[in-house]
């Protein structure tokens, strides 16, 4: 076997193992959330049972409608069987198929997350690059102060303050992500710009702009891609609080409403979906690291 073929085979095996691990993690996450919801107080109760207009038979039928969910293992097995048939289940609390709910709400959350992540990256780059590359002490102090202030307020608090100021929810996500991204980015840039050849180039009088792309950002691209993967997870966490506060009909608000109503099928779908998205983004970052290193 040639060296190239051996390398490809090793990469395929690693990818297969990683995909298996991701599938197992998502499966376990779904089962865990199904079990938690099953044993939470108030599970299986339905508002319709309080409706005095319903006959006794109807109320018993309402009660029986949750029977399938009482055994979490059985529910989870049946749920996966339905998922493979293309049916994600039905939300009892919102009285709609989950597939429809996801289709309606996903665009709002995706829009919020994408713009929020982009805004946070722009802010982090604007504050960190000149502070590190041009060694502007005052800008570094101001950006550290700004980052410290935003990091010291809860995501929901930032949402309320900006909502009252009439600022878009996308900026709320951006401001929640900014301090984390800024700190990581500044550390990465500091490490990359402290390398001997970069220091030598600066000492010889080379301007920082030509150095930034070729000798600072390109060598640090693997870490930056990993940071993008992490920011997806952080953005969804922020979106849950922001959508709940600002009443935005997205997936975050759906998670919030489903948790409050103990809506088991919705929570399982969301948990599996979020676990899969996070793990896949981490996998892409992990796989890109050796490829990028071999290119540099």
């Amino acid at each position: 076997m040639s060296l190239d073929a051996a390398g490809t085979s090793a990469r395929t095996t690693r990818l297969g193992r990683a995909l298996l691990r991701i599938a197992a993690t998502a499966l376990a996450g779904g089962l865990l959330s199904a079990t938690m919801v099953r044993f939470s107080p108030g599970f299986g109760l339905d508002e319709k049972q309080l409706d005095a207009r319903l006959s006794r038979e109807s109320q018993e039928a309402v009660l029986r409608s949750h029977d399938q969910e009482r055994n979490p293992l059985r529910f989870y097995a049946a749920w996966w069987k339905r998922v493979f048939a293309g049916d994600l289940g039905f939300s009892q609390s919102l009285n709609r198929p989950i597939r429809e709910l996801l289709a309606d709400r996903a665009p709002a959350t995706l829009d919020l997350m994408l713009w929020g992540i982009a805004g946070a990256w722009v802010l982090a780059i604007v504050f960190s690059v000149p502070a590190v590359m041009r060694r502007l002490a005052r800008l570094a102090a101001v950006s550290s102060l700004f980052s410290g202030m935003t990091a010291s307020l809860p995501a929901a608090g930032i949402a309320i303050l900006l909502f009252r100021m009439g600022i878009s929810a996308k900026w709320m996500v951006a401001l929640v992500l900014f301090p984390r991204l800024y700190q990581y980015l500044r550390n990465v840039l500091q490490q990359a710009s402290g390398r001997p050849h970069v220091l030598l180039a600066r000492a010889k009088g080379l301007r920082w702009q030509p150095l930034l792309w070729r000798h600072v950002l390109l060598p640090a691209r693997a870490q930056l891609i990993a940071l993008v993967a992490v920011s997806i997870n952080m953005a969804f966490g922020a979106a849950v609080a922001i959508e709940a506060i600002c009443d935005i009909p997205g997936l975050g608000q759906l998670a919030w409403k489903a948790a409050a109503a103990r809506d088991l099928p919705v929570l399982v779908v969301l948990t599996v979906m979020i676990a899969l998205v996070t793990q896949m983004s981490n996998l892409v970052a992990d796989l890109s690291t050796p490829i990028l290193r071999s290119q540099s």
């Binding site: 809860p154 609080a241 506060i245 793990q279």
Partner: protein, 266 residues
Amino acid sequence: MKAIRYLAATLLLALLLAALWPGALTRTPYDRQFRELPNAPVSRQFPLGTDELGRDRLSRLLYGTRVSLLAAPAAALLSTILAALVGGLAGFLGGWFDRAAVALIDLMLSLPWLFLLIIVRAMLPLNVPALVSVLLTFGLIGLLGWPSAARIVRAGCRTLRCSDLVLQARACGLPRGRVLLKHVLPNVRPILTAQFRASIPIYILAEANLGLLGLGVADPLPSWGNLLRPLESGLAPDWAAWAPLILMLVVVSCLYLTQSSKVVVQ
């Protein structure tokens, strides 16, 4: 940097003292209602006025600070102990336990922290006495907060497992438990201390987030989470600015002290 660290420590100490002995600043209990004086302005009797139920805002701010400043370190201690147990055992023992622990850590870290907290807290009883709500909220934060710390502890223990001192201890016939307790865990203590300190501001913010969403500490007991809630109504008077301001000061102070401890670890 050193001056800022001293300033942060002094500020935290002053706030902690004020929160532990609120009687020095106000004699009104946090839950006493002056029904004839709702939304009273600032006066000598009420230095920050009263809320919409006629309760002394200064008293509530001080007691709320006490709840957050005492319960967050307790939750941080709980999660650090869990991280030491899971991460320490996984890193030291290896094998199937390590693989199972890593899978659990991966699973918990793949769900956003706030999403996980909201989902789990919403599944627990919401209509509970105030003190139980404190225990539930901070207990939950502590129980769910260990994975990131456990990952770091595991890495530290894995390195130590192959170190000369552990090999020598095992070659001398010391049982595994004793090696772990006497030689491995003491060597990862700086990591655990740094994780403990870093968790405190994160947990204070987590409680504030839950409180703002109505899932935190229940009324009438004040906490920073429910003290920030008047901001949500849009009719919050000026006093409401005090709660976020003090929250910011505490978290920034904790972050500065955490950074200094990280430097010590490095």
